[in-house]
């Protein structure tokens, strides 16, 4: 096995009743999924997609998007999953950066994007995975193919079709994160780096052919690779979880019960919502064996609440930037105490580390090959080594204990992670200064009374304006990822400046941190 596409072929060989569960609960055995992926690949190749072309996927989670993604890989394309409910401007920015040959979407997601920023989408072909006609989308001069779900719609899925032969170091997928100037940057993972992750992750999540893995993280988030590749690799069953379930914890818990899910992998934010608002006492979730979390620290008290609510589940903390995939993990021995420090754990196999001024550098087989079309940035961030994967400086400060376990101590720079989403404060500040009435803005991380991290914004307004927090939040919500929307706003009459006359952001951020903040709005009100 050398390619990510082999994971699906491997799954098809198990023939043990495992497969892919769609949103409606129907199960497609892996053999059928593999055949449908070949059908999708045939359509893409016939449409002119060549190896190395980008295929952007703008579809919510479902069996159809899983198949489209694997089909694109089989066609030799580089897959770029996009956020189907993301801020249109952000999505359009990613499309501009990756320059795709095809965008695969649904009538809904394409129309949503087409409303105005589509002017930026210079993409010759759009595939629509729905029979709904695309009347409102306004896509002049673009070729549009409507494919029914290849699983049922395509009989072209013959095994006679030959697919391009790929090498392990060919790029397989791009994960975009925000850049400090507001231009998104693409992390390039190859078949080799993706597969190295998929193999170790299958072991560390303890996947077996009887496992049923909930596919919760959206496709554009790299945590979805567990479901996309590790799950078929282990011959386990992947349960697609719809996007709306992310916003309805009680619906998510219902789905987990109905599908007898055994494995969860999600960011702490979502797991906390599940525990606090998921009506767990009304659900039978005893099938859950393992819960993995990643993306940000889990407040120990809240994690203990989750573990006490689901006492039969073992919990693992996974750590790693999107550039390297997961590189350490830590199995919790039991519910942590309130002030316990939960380590990020010990290194994964074949990884080596060095500490430079307490910053963790790793050399890992799961490391990216570089940043998309950014050779200078790549050279700056990756330090080549003889016969070893390059060093990557994570920017994370860590301690190492005598048992070889790392504990996260903070960032070396201003990067902030909220709900597992990497945010560049400067980019959000830049955007906020465009908001109606805002003259200057400084954004900083805060920790709510419940231990939940979020952003708060300090703003200086035009003298004629008064602060309306809800309006500000809504304004931001259409333009940045949900995690980047400040949970509270503080009005300043002016900002302190540094000796060179710039805004003293360090000082303002310290004031943001110490200011009293109201209950974070994601809390339900007490009953």
């Amino acid at each position: 096995m050398a390619l990510l596409t082999d994971t699906l072929q491997r799954a098809a060989e198990y023939d043990n009743g495992s497969g892919l569960v769609d949103l409606d609960g129907s199960l497609q055995p892996w053999g059928q999924v593999a055949q449908a992926a070949r059908g999708a690949a045939s359509i893409l190749i016939a449409s002119g997609v060549e190896p190395g072309d980008r295929v952007a996927i703008l579809q919510p989670k479902s069996a159809a998007s899983f198949i489209a993604l694997h089909g694109a890989l089989l066609a030799g394309a580089i897959v770029v999953p996009l956020d189907p409910v993301g801020a249109p401007a952000t999505v359009a920015g990613v499309i501009e950066q990756c320059d795709p040959a095809v965008v695969i979407g649904s009538a809904t997601t394409i129309a949503r994007l087409a409303l105005d920023p589509l002017q930026k989408i210079d993409c010759p072909l759009v595939i629509v995975d729905e029979t709904t006609p695309l009347t409102e989308a306004g896509l002049p001069d673009r070729r549009i193919i409507e494919w029914n779900h290849p699983l049922t719609g395509s009989r072209a899925a013959g095994s006679s079709q030959s697919f391009p032969s790929l090498r392990p170091d060919d790029p397989a997928y791009l994960i975009f994160t925000s850049g400090s100037t507001g231009v998104p940057k693409g992390i390039v993972h190859t078949h080799q780096s993706g597969l190295a992750y998929a193999i170790t992750a299958a072991q560390r999540h303890r996947l077996t052919p009887t496992s049923r893995v909930a596919g919760i993280p959206p496709l554009h988030f790299d945590m979805s690779t567990l479901e996309l590749y590790s799950t078929p690799l282990a011959g386990a069953t992947a349960v697609s979880v719809g996007e709306p379930e992310q916003r309805f914890p009680a619906s998510l818990s219902q789905r987990l019960e109905n599908e007898q899910v055994t494995h969860l992998y999600a960011v702490p934010f979502l797991l906390r919502q599940l525990q606090e608002r998921g009506a767990l006492s009304e659900r039978d979730l005893t099938a859950i064996e393992h819960i993995g979390y990643a993306g940000e620290p889990y407040a120990p008290g809240a994690l203990a609440d989750l573990m006490n609510a689901l006492p039969h589940a073992r919990v693992t903390n996974f750590y790693g930037p999107a550039e390297t995939n997961v590189v350490t993990s830590y199995d919790l021995p039991g519910p942590p105490t309130d002030d316990e420090e939960i380590p990020i754990g010990s290194l994964w196999p074949d990884c080596t580390y060095k500490l430079v001024d307490d910053e963790l550098y790793v050399s890992a087989p799961t490391c990216m090959s570089g940043y998309w079309r950014e050779p200078e940035l790549t050279a700056k961030k990756l330090e080549p080594q003889q016969d070893r994967p390059p060093w990557y400086g994570t920017g994370d400060l860590v301690d190492l204990d005598d048992d070889g376990r790392f504990t996260y101590r903070g960032r070396r720079d201003n990067q902030v992670k909220i709900r597992g989403v990497r945010l560049e404060l400067e980019a959000i500040e830049l955007l906020l200064t465009d908001a109606p009435g805002v003259e200057h803005a400084v954004v900083g991380p805060i920790t709510g009374a419940d231990g939940q991290p979020s952003l708060a914004a300090a703003v200086v307004l035009d003298p004629s304006e008064s602060l309306n927090e809800q309006k500000m939040r809504r304004w931001c919500a259409g333009r940045v990822p949900a995690a980047a929307v400040p949970s509270s706003f503080i009005q300043f009459s002016g900002f302190p400046s540094t000796s060179s006359g710039k805004i003293d952001r360090v000082e303002v951020r310290a004031q943001i941190k110490s200011a009293p903040h109201p209950e974070t709005p994601v809390e339900t009100k007490p009953h």
């Binding site: 809904t108 949503r112 916003r247 919502q273 919500a477 709005p521």
Partner: protein
């Protein structure tokens, strides 16, 4: 539940919750698949309904079937008030 409840809810969602002011939300607009309402919006809607009706909504009732459209919300509230 008073007559104007559905009308007021629709008006409030269009004015304060919708992430895309260019879309006119009507009673049967799917709010979830289109990304018009995020998780923050759901919480705000629940709080508005609780304030307006004096209902205390059980977390187990905050599910997709009850909140996908304004129509479904009105139906859910009507049933809850009658109970």
């Amino acid at each position: 539940m008073d007559e104007s409840f559905g009308h007021d809810l629709l008006k409030m969602i269009n004015a304060e919750i919708s992430l895309d002011p260019s879309v006119e939300i009507v009673a049967d607009t799917d709010l979830l698949l289109t990304g018009l309402v995020d998780s923050l919006g759901v919480v705000d809607i629940v709080a508005w309904i609780e304030d307006r009706t004096d209902l205390i909504i059980d977390p187990g009732d905050i599910v997709i079937e009850n909140f996908q459209t304004v129509e479904q919300m009105v139906r859910f509230v009507k049933i809850s008030v009658d109970d």
